[in-house]
């Protein structure tokens, strides 16, 4: 479960959009493969979770049209499938961003102010926990512990941990990733060039 706190909303409001939405069924071989997966297996008892895993394997997440096909074929309601999909932390209902930002909200980080980190990260990205930014660059996931409590508060971008964070440092890190990503996508070559320099200067992730 991505959501760690009561949001007050009746359901997660997706502010980020679905940047890497699975493509048009007609032109995408993955949808053909989905039909093959469903054929013969969808109605077998006990196949729901394995099928959800394989669908996620196929698309990187669980696209709604794929779950709708699964509902049609399995005779399970979409609502039942959604209930299962939202129960297991392993299932994602939205495509993940290019970079996954995991902000630790565990005990040690909490004591060292992870709430402020989390708040700044959410402000910076403009998304809530479990969501993906509209430009498809970041997904934000709160996690319970990253295993380096001595560096609290900690966040991890993809496989790289950033420790002893302040809200400002967290913001800087994220901006750097964004500049790099945009440069690579050719969206802003000038910023991209700058980002490359900035990246070189930013190797020391753990200031003393």
């Amino acid at each position: 479960m991505a959501e760690g706190e009561a949001t007050g909303a009746a359901f997660p409001v997706r502010r980020g959009g679905q940047p890497q939405e699975a493509a048009d069924p007609a032109s995408d071989a993955r949808w053909q493969r989905l039909e093959e997966l469903l054929a013969g297996r969808a109605r077998q008892p006990g196949q729901l979770i394995p099928l959800l895993q394989e669908i996620q394997g196929l698309f990187g997440y669980l696209p709604r049209p794929a779950l709708e096909r699964l509902a049609d074929e399995s005779r399970l309601s979409l609502n039942r499938i959604y209930g299962v999909a939202t129960f297991y932390a392993q299932f994602r209902l939205q495509p993940r961003g290019l970079h996954v930002v995991r902000v630790c909200v565990g005990t040690a980080c909490h004591v060292r102010g992870s709430a402020r980190i989390m708040q700044r990260v959410q402000e910076e990205l403009g998304v809530g926990a479990g969501e993906t930014t509209a430009d498809g660059i970041f997904s934000l996931e709160p996690v319970a512990c990253l295993g380096c409590c001595g560096l609290a508060p900690v966040m991890m971008v993809d496989e790289t941990p950033y420790g002893k964070l302040t809200p400002e440092r967290a913001q800087q890190v994220l901006r750097r990733y964004r500049r790099e990503a945009m440069a690579r996508q050719g969206r802003d070559p000038v910023a991209g060039a700058q980002a490359a320099d900035a990246g070189a200067a930013c190797d020391a992730h753990f200031p003393a």
């Binding site: 959501e3 009561a6 609502n79 039942r80 209930g83």
Partner: protein
């Protein structure tokens, strides 16, 4: 006798008493069948163990932990609902340890529960409140983290208050297990678990059918109908049992009454017809009873045909009725008069109406709307079996291994029978749906035979051909129980799969598979409805159904049969009571001198000998000026009959029209005298549902204004025509009917308990007949009657390229006069949404919600369209619920030659897009019924 004893104790078990398990509960020794839960055992012994998530009609969840009990020798407390009894178990249900555990559970629930009982709908009727009181649980003073979610009030029917939800999951299970929709589930399980639909959709998008059964099972105030908010405390309401006034299922329901007004509805659990189930119309469709539009006083036209309808006393109105009818009889003879009885009225009232026609007016011109729905069933099944009714019971559909549903949109038109079909599928039955449309049942079907409208006979003959040629038929049954097989087989010879596939559009392989499923099951049932009957070949379609069942021996046993689903709550009863032009009560032929003699003697009159006219013939005769006077009771032919424009002209041409109804309907507006009748809720009587179950009901409220029960009005009219009948109560009227009607011979009001009685019930000690034709057919041997495919009367051509099919929507009923006055129903479905296929729509430039003009050779209407795959290309589907988009201006009065039923299911039409401004307005009397938030 084991089974008897078990049944007496309320158990369904095969175990003999000597095998029962003995245990002690709170010091009481008891014996129960093996497999019984501790909870059930304790309840039988009168020990009430508290539960929040348990419901006897649902699977056991074991989620609430409130039913924990102490079992001596066990390590932990056991959940009584989920623990089966064991020999010599010693159970304590209220030991200190148990009470402590329950207090803890309740404290935790109360931590997350608003303690605003004063404004909660369920105050005084809330299980959480009851148990917190019973165990004297203190309100939590220092609550920890509390969940808070905004309530979901997006639909017009009910509110889900998440803060009050205790997550017992009864609503989830009733939606999944009984309704088989699964519109809701636990989502985001964990601290923030909510019961929602996928992706936070509103229930409307999630497939919810708004039966409201979730509301009925909610143990707290989390699910509450909007109509109930502020409308009465639990202790101010009295729940009174009655029978639902909508379709032919005949569900037992309870209406809540406060201060003489109805303020709520729910299912009753004591009738086998619905067994505690209910649909959206039964739950939310009762407002019409108290509509300000109800007729509360008789109306007369003092200034002649062109004068206005003015309020009058009963004395004046009845006098005018008697005089008007008598004058026509004297001047033109009795056959210039006709009456239309009503499938909405009781058996007693229908009996009186046909008696009035035959004995007091002297004509057999009596008919009712059954002509328009199942006249072909009555004719066809009477020919084949000798009895024109559903052969089996609703309850035993769930025992079928294969169900062939043809021409029945069951989940929408007979929703609670739809639940039985889904239950059968859940138990592993195969479902074959034959329907031109992709109706909701196709989701549960193994095979959908999407035949072209009007090709039922070809399809059914084709299935029979395969079964016959492959040798899958029941030769023994055919030889022993039937006749006419030879002649029939010659007629079926041409219907090979290739030919049938060409006629029907159903692939050969699907035909083969369907035939194999149906023929090879030990128990296979056919369910059909107006998709079979409402054709010019309707009677042939019914005969073809009967032939198929006889061929495979699927008759006379549980889980088999030929099961026509009747449309109106009492259309079966209205037919049974002889509101038909050719038969007296009990289908006794008017042409039989002995029958006439019997009734004539009882009624003290000489009965007219020749069969009278049918509904459609009456309208024709009126248009020609042959029928001069018409007495309509509870029917609205201007909207319900085919070629509505013609009907209106016919009614206008009459010298004298009496309409007895609850509203000033389109037909009543043309009347010379209008008599205010009463609804089901204001009278006493019996209804006979589609499975021949005669059910009694009592008044729930007093008649509104000066309205009178229809049986009283009929007695008064008869008296003024010089026939004082001394059957002055519904019970006495039914006694007289039963004395003359062998199939009702043993039916008396005092015998009718919650389960009613199923006819034939010939004698006062007869238990009723759940399954017909078990030993022999009513006519002796079943008759194979050869039928051949004939094309519909009107097929699409260049000018009118679409086939129009008409039918019903789940959320409305008939001409809408009842259902459109429900704030919930009318807000949810305010206007017609004619279905048109995606491809056709694209070609015509029509999008969802656009307005189209639909035109036939008879007339034209405007309606919004819904672009969908539910109808195949070339077919347009309309309901007949909306008078501003009246489908029956388009249909033709083309009749089946035998049953005289019109072909509502096939007409040729053209469709064109028009400007959105041309959308027909919702009529004012319905627009003002909308829920406040929906009125703009």
């Amino acid at each position: 006798m084991a089974a008897d004893e078990a049944a007496k104790a309320g158990f369904r078990t095969a175990a003999a008493p000597q095998d029962w398990v003995r245990l002690s509960v709170d010091g009481r020794e008891l014996a129960v069948p093996p497999g019984t839960s501790i909870l059930e055992a304790a309840r039988r012994a009168g020990v009430e163990i508290p539960t929040l998530c348990y419901h006897p009609e649902l699977t056991v969840a074991g989620a609430c932990r409130l039913c924990l009990v102490e079992v001596e020798g066990a390590r932990n407390l056991a959940a009584a609902c989920a623990t089966p009894v064991q020999q010599d178990m010693v159970v304590h249900t209220e030991s200190p340890q148990v009470v402590e555990a329950r207090r803890t559970v309740l404290e935790l629930l109360l931590q997350n529960h608003p303690l605003e009982c004063y404004r909660c709908e369920r105050n005084g009727d809330c299980r959480l409140q009851d148990y917190a009181y019973r165990y004297q649980v203190e309100a939590p003073r220092r609550p920890g983290a509390v969940r808070h979610f905004a309530p979901d009030d997006r639909n017009p029917f009910f509110v889900r208050d998440y803060d009050k939800c205790i997550l017992c999951g009864q609503c989830v299970r009733v939606c999944d297990e009984i309704q088989a929709i699964g519109a809701i589930d636990y989502t985001r399980r964990g601290f923030n678990t909510q019961i929602t639909s996928a992706y936070g959709q509103g229930l409307e998008e999630a497939g919810c059918v708004f039966c409201g059964m979730c509301v009925d099972v909610c143990p707290v105030g989390a699910l509450v109908p909007k109509y109930a908010l502020g409308a009465g405390r639990s202790w101010e309401k009295t729940w009174r049992r009655t029978i639902c006034p909508y379709c032919g299922v005949g569900c037992a329901i309870e209406l809540a009454v406060k201060g003489g007004r109805i303020v709520g509805a729910r299912a009753a659990h004591d009738s086998p017809a619905n067994a505690g189930k209910i649909c959206v119309k039964g739950h939310f469709g009762w407002d019409f009873v108290q509509s300000p539009d109800r007729l509360t006083t008789p109306l007369v036209r003092r200034g002649g045909k062109d004068g206005p309808l003015e309020p009058a006393s009963w004395e004046e109105a009845l006098h005018r009725v008697a005089r008007g009818l008598a004058e026509i009889r004297e001047q033109y003879g009795p056959d210039a008069l006709a009456v239309l009885s009503s499938a909405k009225c009781t058996n007693e009232e229908n009996y009186l109406m046909q008696k009035l026609a035959r004995a007091a007016l002297g004509t057999n011109n009596v008919d009712h709307c059954a002509r328009l729905c199942h006249a072909s069933t009555v004719a066809g099944l009477a020919t084949a079996f000798g009895s024109g009714a559903m052969t089996n019971s609703i309850g035993d559909l769930a025992q079928a291994q294969v169900l062939l549903v043809i021409g029945s949109n069951t989940t929408e038109a007979h929703p609670v029978i739809g639940l039985r079909i889904k239950e059968a599928v859940r138990r592993g039955a195969k479902l074959i749906v034959a329907d031109p449309r992709r109706i909701p049942l196709t989701r549960y079907a193994d095979l959908h035979l999407q035949l072209l409208p009007g090709t039922n006979v070809a399809l059914l003959n084709g299935l029979a051909w395969i079964i016959w040629k492959r040798g899958w038929y029941d030769a023994e049954f055919v030889a022993a129980r039937t006749e006419g097989f030879e002649g029939w087989s010659r007629a079926v010879e041409p219907y090979n799969p290739e030919y049938v596939s060409k006629l029907t559009g159903v692939p050969v392989q699907a035909l083969e598979e369907a035939a194999r499923f149906y023929a090879q099951a030990e128990r296979a049932a056919i369910v059909y409805s107006m998709g079979v009957t409402q054709h010019t070949s309707g009677t042939d379609g019914v005969l073809a159904v009967a032939n198929l069942a006889m061929l495979t021996g699927n008759l006379g046993r549980p889980g088999t049969g030929v099961n026509p689903l009747r449309g109106q709550n009492n259309v079966q009863g209205a037919c049974d009571m002889g509101a038909l032009p050719d038969v007296l009560p009990g289908y006794q032929k008017i042409e039989d001198p002995a029958v006439r003699e019997k009734f004539g003697r009882a009624w003290g009159v000489r009965l007219p000998e020749r069969p009278g006219l049918t509904v459609t013939e009456i309208m024709d005769a009126a248009a020609r000026g042959q029928i001069k006077g018409l007495y309509l009771m509870g029917e609205n032919p201007v909207l319900s009959d085919p070629d509505a424009g013609h009907v209106q002209q016919a009614l206008q041409r009459l010298d004298f029209l009496v309409v007895q109804d609850i509203f000033l309907t389109e037909s009543a507006a043309l009347a010379d005298v209008v008599l205010p009748g009463t609804t089901f809720a204001e009278k006493e009587g019996t209804f006979t549902n589609t499975e021949r179950r005669v059910q009694k009901f009592m008044p729930v409220i007093e008649p509104v204004g000066a309205a009178r029960p229809d049986w009283q009005i009929l007695l008064d009219v008869a008296e003024r025509l010089g026939h004082r009948w001394d059957t002055r109560t519904p019970a006495a009227i039914l006694d007289e009917a039963a004395s003359l009607t062998p199939i009702y011979g043993g039916i008396r009001h005092r015998r009718l308990g919650p389960a009613g009685l199923q006819w034939p019930c010939p004698t006062p000690d007869h238990p009723g007949t759940p399954i017909l034709h078990t030993q022999q057919f009513s006519r002796g041997k079943g008759l194979f009657y050869p039928v051949t495919y004939r094309r519909a009367h009107e097929l699409p051509d260049e000018e009118y390229p679409f086939i129009l099919s008409t039918g019903r929507l789940l959320f409305h009923f008939h001409t809408g006069t009842m259902s459109r006055r429900s704030p919930e129903l009318t807000t949810h479905r305010p206007w017609e949404r004619s279905e048109i296929n995606r491809q056709d729509a694209a070609r015509l430039g029509l999008k969802d919600g656009d307005v189209a003009r639909i035109r036939s050779r008879r007339g034209s209407v405007l309606a919004r369209v819904e672009v969908t795959d539910r109808v195949p290309p070339g077919v347009v589907f309309m309901t007949f619920h909306y008078r501003e988009s009246a489908a029956n201006l388009l249909t033709a009065a083309a009749l089946d030659p035998v049953a005289r039923i019109p072909e509502f299911k096939v007409s040729a039409v053209q469709v064109e897009k028009v400007a959105p401004e041309q959308a027909p307005a919702v009529p004012e009397e319905y627009a003002r019924c909308m829920r406040p938030e929906a009125r703009v």
